[in-house]
């Protein structure tokens, strides 16, 4: 199964060679001082102070290091894999082997249907907003769960989790609902298991209050909020909630309906869990399991709420990057629910056949490559059709022209840069030289110290 997973992941890894910075990456790379960068974004855009810190401090473009920029997707893949591994160890089985297999499985299913692949892995600015905070959140979930159940006191871990909460809150407001839901559930677990960790839970909630206080009192956020009457506010809130539910359900339909890879991976998951004879650490009745599954799936419907509320009438289901986070949680909740169901079933003798795992793994691998809507298929096609290679070559040419102090200028003293002809769906974010994105030209010119540019179609 690991071999099949590696084969499926191969196109994603090879695509790292063809990743190149887009315009918004440059916009976040022209301020040299870290603290001022964080302050500037906090004052003028939004309260995502941790994301701003990443833009400022973990930005290879600030040192024009394009190779490190290309390594970021690999780090994200490793981060996602590690967070799934930790979750598997915490919630499903102490078997490291099973945890490795399950984390590969979850990673493949997530990447297969993530609504916007470039924004999930390859577009630095966006990955700092969506993927990195999500990874940190998942690590917080597993470590806080372990901390509450552990008999040992660990102040160091407690401090890290509290700082992690700050990172999640300052990373993306879409994680507010999952964060609240998780710590409420953790409080419930603490009470149910008489773990006597109330002080720690209180500290986590205190961290949530402090961090979201910073986020929601950002002047950048307030600039976008109009003062409305109470009735209008209620109306707006209801509309935003409705939109969040409808948009997520629309996306969910696409993640489940006709998604054969999900069906095969579900069977494979059941087989793996059964093969390793795993049973949950906690015993829940059918009713309690159903309630938990209902709460988890229900909470996913509200993850997009901060977006639908702030975007008001412009909120749209086609703003796909917002649904990366709900897609990630959907995948995790889907498998966790399966685990709860499987653990209730007395025995599945057919699931213990050794050849079954191999057959299902191969079938799963094939299903990714045969589904034309799958990101695996799209990534593979972009490599085979040389779209990704062409895209990289075009951007590289623009970069070398921009870096060249003796580059030839046209009659109007402008440096001619080209509009992309190759636009691979798996890598290209859409934020490059286009007519409607001229407001990013200033930052690009400042980055490369160019006076004037003119964008022409690539030859």
């Amino acid at each position: 199964m690991v071999a099949v997973s590696c084969l499926v992941l191969l196109p994603f890894v090879v695509l790292c060679l063809y990743v190149a910075p887009n315009l918004e990456d440059y916009a976040e790379s022209i301020i040299p001082e870290v603290l001022w960068h964080v302050k500037f974004l906090y004052l003028s855009y939004d309260g995502r102070f941790f994301t701003s810190f990443l833009f400022a401090a973990v930005n290879p473009l600030k040192s024009e290091n394009y190779i490190l920029y290309q390594c970021l997707p690999l780090l994200l893949l490793a981060g996602l894999l590690f967070s799934f591994y930790q979750l598997s160890l915490s919630f499903i089985s102490r078997s490291k082997k099973l945890a490795v297999l399950l984390s590969f499985l979850v990673l493949l299913v997530f990447l297969h249907k993530t609504p916007n692949l470039p924004y999930t892995l390859y577009y630095m600015i966006s990955t700092y907003v969506y993927t990195v905070p999500s990874i940190i959140f998942l690590l917080i979930v597993s470590s806080s769960y372990n901390l509450v159940l552990s008999k040992k006191n660990n102040a160091y871990k407690l401090g890290l989790i509290s700082c992690g909460i700050f990172a999640v809150a300052g990373g993306n407001e879409l994680l507010l609902i999952p964060c609240l839901v998780w710590f409420i559930v953790l409080g419930f677990i603490n009470k149910k298991m008489q773990a006597k960790r109330s002080r720690e839970i209180s500290l986590f909630f205190f961290s949530i209050v402090c961090s979201y206080f910073i986020v929601f009192t950002s002047p950048g956020v307030h600039e976008n909020i109009q003062t409305l009457s109470l009735m209008e506010e209620v109306k707006l809130l209801t509309k935003a909630l409705h939109k969040s539910i409808v948009f997520t359900l629309t996306n969910m339909k696409g993640w489940v309906w006709g998604n054969y890879s999900l069906y095969i991976s579900s069977i494979l998951f059941v087989v793996l869990v059964r093969a390793y004879n795993t049973s949950p650490y906690f015993k829940l009745s059918w009713f309690k399991s159903a309630v938990l599954v209902f709460i988890l799936f229900g909470s996913i419907l509200f993850v997009a709420f901060p977006y639908t509320w702030s975007a008001k009438s412009t909120a749209s289901a086609s703003y796909s990057q917002v649904f990366i986070v709900p897609c990630l949680f959907f995948t995790l909740v889907w498998f966790f629910s399966l685990f709860l169901i499987v653990s209730k079933l007395s025995s599945l003798p057919w699931a213990r056949k050794p050849w079954l795992i191999t057959t299902l793994s191969i079938l799963l691998g094939l299903s990714f490559f045969l589904d034309k809507t799958s990101n695996v298929y799209i990534a593979f096609q972009d490599l085979v059709n040389r779209e990704a290679q062409g895209y990289h070559a075009e951007i590289k040419e623009n970069i070398s022209k921009s870096q060249d102090k003796n580059a030839l200028l046209n009659d109007l003293n402008q440096l001619e840069l080209c509009e992309l002809k190759h636009q691979p769906r798996s890598v290209y974010s859409g934020v490059y030289f286009r007519r409607e994105l001229e407001h990013f030209h200033l930052e690009y010119r400042l980055y490369y110290k160019i006076k004037r540019i003119k964008v022409v179609p690539c030859s």
């Binding site: 906090y42 500290l203 205190f206 200033l442 400042l446």
Partner: protein
């Protein structure tokens, strides 16, 4: 009640997080509203960013005390002893920081205490205010539109007669 080391560290972590929150708000100058210093810092950052930019799409300034703005510009030009408007307009074509265009923008920023920005399909627009929503009976607005330099020149040529006054003064001298 005696606290053990672990319990003490829980309180210490809580205290550290509280201090971080306090320091962050203090550093950004955003306790209740955005502080005047932070506003000024933002403005000077915006002007620095545009120091070498000759393709500002649009700059709107309202509620600025234009008398102060123009007096500032005139003072600067008096020091440099420019002979007349014509030269002033010619300078606009240059991308130098000393051009009249930059002097004008710089002065507008200097007199502004607040700014807002709007991102439209055609580009970024900056709004500068001296007194936001206060003492602003008839807001004066100057807009530079289009990237064409002619449009910028035209906008500046349309300024009230302050520059002419300067030329007159200059000739008298």
């Amino acid at each position: 009640m005696q606290l053990n080391n672990y319990q003490r560290s829980i309180y210490l972590i809580g205290l550290a997080l509280f201090i971080f929150t306090f320091l962050f708000k203090y550093y950004t100058g955003t306790f209740l509203t955005i502080s005047k210093e932070s506003g000024k810092e933002m403005i000077s950052f915006e002007i620095n960013k545009r120091k070498n930019d000759i393709s500002i799409k649009s700059l709107k300034a309202s509620c600025l005390n234009y008398q102060d703005v123009f007096n500032g510009i005139l003072l600067d030009f008096k020091r440099n002893d420019l002979p007349c408007n014509q030269l002033l307009y010619n300078e606009i074509l240059t991308s130098s920081m000393d051009s009249a265009y930059y002097k004008f923008i710089e002065k507008m920023y200097e007199h502004a205490n607040f700014y807002e920005k709007e991102i439209t399909d055609t580009g970024r627009i900056l709004y500068l205010y001296q007194n936001k929503n206060e003492d602003c009976v008839e807001p004066a607005i100057i807009t530079f539109v289009d990237t064409e330099e002619e449009s910028l020149i035209e906008s500046i040529q349309n300024l009230p007669n302050y520059l002419e006054c300067y030329c007159v003064l200059s000739k008298k001298k």
